[in-house]
């Protein structure tokens, strides 16, 4: 069967007049074009190109094939156009990966936003921080939610970055803690005596916590380390200790925790959605990106310490 790419080659050859120019125009090597056109001739069972040592030109049969090919390629382009324009109806599967806090926080709002897209299916996965962008780049996932404490996330040649939320660290205390009183002043010096809980060393949020506590009054020793902010918030609720946590983690709705802002300037991260530049116009991916923006809006409304990130 004729091959569309070879038909494209012979049409371009007809325009350009030489194998070398055709190769240059289409981004192949001249030997690739030569071999592909030879294969086309074998398949057609007729000479399509007259070649001499320094030139090549179409035979009569070659010219006739080019006429056919132009019509065929025109129909192919129509088909692709039709698919592309009707793909405004998002459908298919979109794979999103998020660090755990974001997955928990965004999932309900995403589900709510995407409910009306019947043909779209969403797969929400969890990944460890720092890997989301690579997974987008490699095509394993379509969109990644990533966080950035230090301003390192930038626009990328092949990736598009959408800012969603500003997510500051806040102080979480048990309901019966003296600092649960919103009128009680937070004395940084007294904070040093508290039983602090945090995620393990090496986690990005832990580094931010250490930095924050150092800034507000010397780093108190962290008495307990737990993996998972959900776990930590549960323990805060139980009175085990206090913790500095990203505001977003409160989206999980843990009861029995009172949230106070840190005195002075806190440390915050930005939360972004990242997608391949080549797929942001795909209707399904665009729909999920819009839903993420909408979800971010809900979250910012629900959690007073969160704010929408500027575009």
């Amino acid at each position: 069967m004729l091959d569309l790419r070879r038909l494209t080659l012979i049409c371009e050859f007809a325009r350009r007049g030489s194998i070398a120019a055709t190769a240059s125009s289409l981004g192949y090597s001249a030997s690739a074009v030569s071999q592909q056109l030879a294969a086309l001739e074998r398949e057609a069972g007729v000479a399509l190109i007259d070649r001499t040592s320094r030139s090549a030109e179409l035979t009569d049969a070659g010219r006739r094939l080019v006429e056919h090919a132009e019509r065929i390629l025109s129909l192919v382009e129509s088909a692709e156009s039709d698919l592309s324009s009707h793909a405004a109806t998002p459908s298919g599967r979109v794979v999103v990966t998020a660090f755990p806090t974001a997955a928990v926080a965004f999932a309900p709002a995403l589900a709510r936003s995407l409910r009306r897209h019947r043909e779209l299916s969403l797969r929400l996965m969890q990944s460890r921080s720092g890997r989301g962008m690579r997974e987008v780049e490699s095509g394993e996932v379509d969109i990644a939610l990533v966080d950035d404490w230090w301003g390192r996330v930038r626009q990328h040649a092949t990736l598009t970055v959408f800012p969603l939320l500003n997510d500051p660290l806040v102080l979480a205390v048990p309901r019966r803690h003296r600092l649960a009183d919103p009128d009680a002043a937070i004395d940084p010096a007294e904070l040093r005596d508290e039983a602090w809980m945090a995620t393990p060393e090496g986690e990005p949020s832990r580094t931010a916590v250490d930095r924050l506590l150092a800034d507000v009054g010397g780093a108190p020793p962290v008495a307990w380390e737990f993996e998972g902010l959900g776990t930590i918030l549960s323990l805060v609720a139980k009175g085990t200790g206090i913790a500095a946590v990203p505001a977003l983690s409160l989206a999980a709705g843990v009861r029995g925790v009172v949230v106070r802002e840190f005195p002075g300037e806190t440390i915050e991260r930005r939360i972004y959605a990242v997608a391949r530049a080549s797929s942001v116009h795909r209707a399904s991916v665009a729909a999920v990106l819009r839903a993420l923006h909408v979800a971010a809006g809900y979250l910012a409304a629900d959690l007073p310490h969160l704010s929408l990130a500027a575009q």
Copy 2:
């Protein structure tokens, strides 16, 4: 870019209603069809098929693509038809391989016959006996001239065999040899005392010569072995000895040699042209096959010991 084979698949899927039936109809495994249709969806950027665990059906976008595809494939078929009908004018290159004697013998007549096919180019190669059929089968060459001393060449599932010539062994003697006199009787017993030349042991024609000489009067020792019948005929002309050679080798036109028929029944070979069944209707290959028959006719006219082989 859309791929014609995948478009063929989705059209067949539209007809058959299931991936399994499509696979069966087109000779693929179901997983191949599944993978190819998934690739088509990725490339189209839109869901084309709704799949459940036990069924699959086209989406609206899939149905629209099938409509486009039917038109595209129809044009492709027109193009292939046009090429195929206009390929009645033989053009392109045909590669023929022949054992050396046949190459030398057929070349002039082939060139004469093909002169009027301006767009056809012929490449005449030489190969060792026994390899020609394999080279045709593998596609390295289009036509092979092969010889058969023992009736082993048969019709083949994918090859078509055309008998061309019956080529007997004849006695070649120097012009001044006593047996050069056509009236001199050839006494087999006296032949034993002659200085015989032949091709090296193991060559098919040598085996035939040994058999012939054994049949006509006991195998005389072959005093000299030379590679190449042309060489042997030159030496016969120079009076070095005598030889039993296939009549076809005389087509080279060596002067100074007199040819006599062997007493009794000689051994002869058949010479065939072999081509792939799938290419014998290709205009260029058909033209060369006709030219080979015509050339065989010339050769049989020129060399009295040769005869045309029955179809």
